[in-house]
Symmetry: C2
Subunit: 182 residues, 2 copies
DNA sequence: GTCTATATTGTGATAGAC
DNA sequence: GTCTATCACAATATAGAC
């Protein structure tokens, strides 16, 4: 059994991602985590510290993902596109939750997402040897991610990654292998 | 002088985009629009009708933009990339505001953005003659838009579109002209 | 059309029992 | 560690004066 602290953090991330920042109230999170509001506030004395802890969790999960990306068999770029297809993994749930905090104006959330985004871009640029193609690949991946996430949270069915689009992306990635380093 | 109704709608869009959905309260909107809360509620009897009116405004502005895109001198694709660089136009402000509503779980906002997004994709596909390249261009444009918007609202300085990235996009667009229709 | 109350509910946080 | 009260405040919305 996960600790109460972990269950509360899970419930908070879930409430943020699924119901939106506005509905992620202490009441809702406590109910979802199976504790009382008082119980919740013992582990996280304020709502702000809940957000803080969630950002820390995101950093840890993202660091793991960056490592996996570097070691991916088909290369970081194709790994990034593949995993840009929101799949409700712990990283996905946390990233979407923190994105909600960012949209609500939380400066820590904004800084966290920007920093992690920079890490991903660096790995792509190192692997492709071309910062411009790396940016294009990252933008396409980000666009796919937003789209899939928006569908998932809107209750839409999950569609597979389009083969034709993948072919276009493959051409983009392959072209960089020949291009001179910038 | 704009009508009170228009000023209230402007203030609501501004509050949503700049301060986030949570801070776009009736009090805040009324103050920004220079009317009392009671005055606001005369024009929009509920907060829900404010959101409704904003979605309608978005549809009108987006329809204009689709027309401009079709007639763009450098073609719809390059027009889309150019205007993906958040510039605080009326369309930008309204689109970001409605995006905030979507993120807060408003189903009308979600439907509106999806419908407009589909219109843009259709124009791109018609112009490029290749639905897959059109999707890639749209995803890159969307990614650029999110990034520029996030910077603008985070108070970051506005940076010009990167020349190298534009070259990569140009190659992507040009390659579609030769490709067979799908 | 616009204002000033005011009713009502939801939310974050505290106090103190167990 | 977890709970039940309870407080203070903010938010939507209503009623009715001007």
């Amino acid at each position: 059994m996960a600790t109460s602290r972990e269950r509360i953090l899970d419930a908070y991330a879930d409430a943020l991602a699924v119901d939106g920042e506005r509905h992620a109230t202490l009441d809702a999170v406590a109910a979802k985590a199976g504790v009382s509001k008082g119980g919740l506030l013992y582990h996280f004395p304020s709502k702000d510290q809940l957000a803080e802890a969630l950002c820390e969790r995101l950093f840890a999960l993202a660091a793991d993902d960056v490592d996996k990306m570097r070691d991916a068999a088909d290369g970081p770029a194709r790994h990034y596109i593949r995993t840009s297809h929101y799949a409700n993994t712990p990283l996905d749930r946390t990233l979407v939750a923190v994105a909600r905090l960012q949209q609500a104006g939380d400066p820590r959330a904004r800084a966290a997402i920007e920093q992690i985004s920079d890490q991903w871009l660096s790995v792509l640029a190192d692997a492709l040897g071309d910062r411009d193609v790396a940016r294009a690949v990252k933008l396409i991946g980000d666009g796919l991610y937003h789209h899939a996430m928006s569908n998932a949270l809107g209750g839409q069915p999950r569609t597979p990654l389009d083969e034709g689009l993948l072919a276009v992306i493959d051409r983009l990635i392959d072209q960089s292998a020949d291009a001179p380093r910038t």
